[in-house]
Amino acid sequence: MTAATSSRSAPRPVTAEDPPPDVARPSGWAALRSRIPNEELPGIATLVVLAVLVGSVVIGWAAPTTALSLAVVALGARTVLDARSGGLPTGAVIVAGALVVVLAACWWSGTDLDQKPRWTTERPTEGLAAYEMAAGSLTIDLTESPRPMGVTAEVGVGRVIVKVPDADVRAGRVDLQARVAGGWVSVPIPQDDEVRPIGRDAGPALMDEVATQSGDAPTVVVRVDVGIGNVEVHRVR
């Protein structure tokens, strides 16, 4: 083999001045599709479904409970799809599991997640009053209520403030029992108060229950039951 034949058969080295080789490039939707790696498609589809569900709740097309349940179904379907290629989306499984636990706990405890939280102040004017709320803040003002007065309040998630006259507390006319499944009951006691006839100043506790020390004939009876949150008793002077 001569030098002339070898230089003829060897390919010419590519330089910077050479034009780029012609490559068939997809256009439009195909171009966008070609940029997305196949491995990411289930994740992207899941995010789109979750975004649609969040949007439907924000707009008001779907109730939160329905959207969360559908999110669990979507995450489950994504897990099955990933399992087909031998993978397990750990993050999606953890999120879906947490949602299942929360939804089941709400179903079990009777908490309605579809109700919107409320912030309200109630001043009962009749002898008996009962309040029920899924979430929010409930203030029960008993300072000007008639006597005798009986009040019950049930709140799923939130805060309950009970305002009672300090004079009634000192006289032992207030019988208050508050129970919180997850949270605490707070009964603030004034620093200069030598008489402490009401409850205690409770710190945070997972399961808290406080009852006041009332006399033999209480004229104000209050029963408060809170799932998650806190109860505050304010003594109004």
């Binding site: 897990t79 399992a83 031998g86 397990l88």
Partner: protein, 87 residues
């Protein structure tokens, strides 16, 4: 269950499939909120987990069998077409 096979059937993760099916079932139960299901919720969860495991195994085997069948058919057609072109 994971294998070295490629293409149509790359091998199922049966545990993952069972978890996914369980989540789908739980989501549907929570969506319906049936009173009968509420009364038997703990038992339903246990039975559902076992059923989802069995269903995932069946699904993996069925998908594998269908994938093999389809691959063989596609290969046969390709071979037939290639043979015709050569002739």
């Amino acid at each position: 269950m994971s294998g070295e096979r490629r293409g149509w059937n790359r091998g199922w993760d049966v545990k993952g499939a069972a978890v996914g099916l369980f989540l789908i079932g739980a989501g549907l139960v929570l969506l319906r909120r049936d009173d009968a299901a509420f009364d038997a919720l703990p038992a339903l969860a246990i039975v559902g987990a076992v059923a989802c495991g069995a269903l995932a195994l069946a699904l993996a085997r069925l998908d594998g069998a269908l994938g093999d069948l389809l691959s063989k058919e596609l290969t046969r057609r390709r071979a037939r077409k290639t043979g015709a072109e050569r002739i």
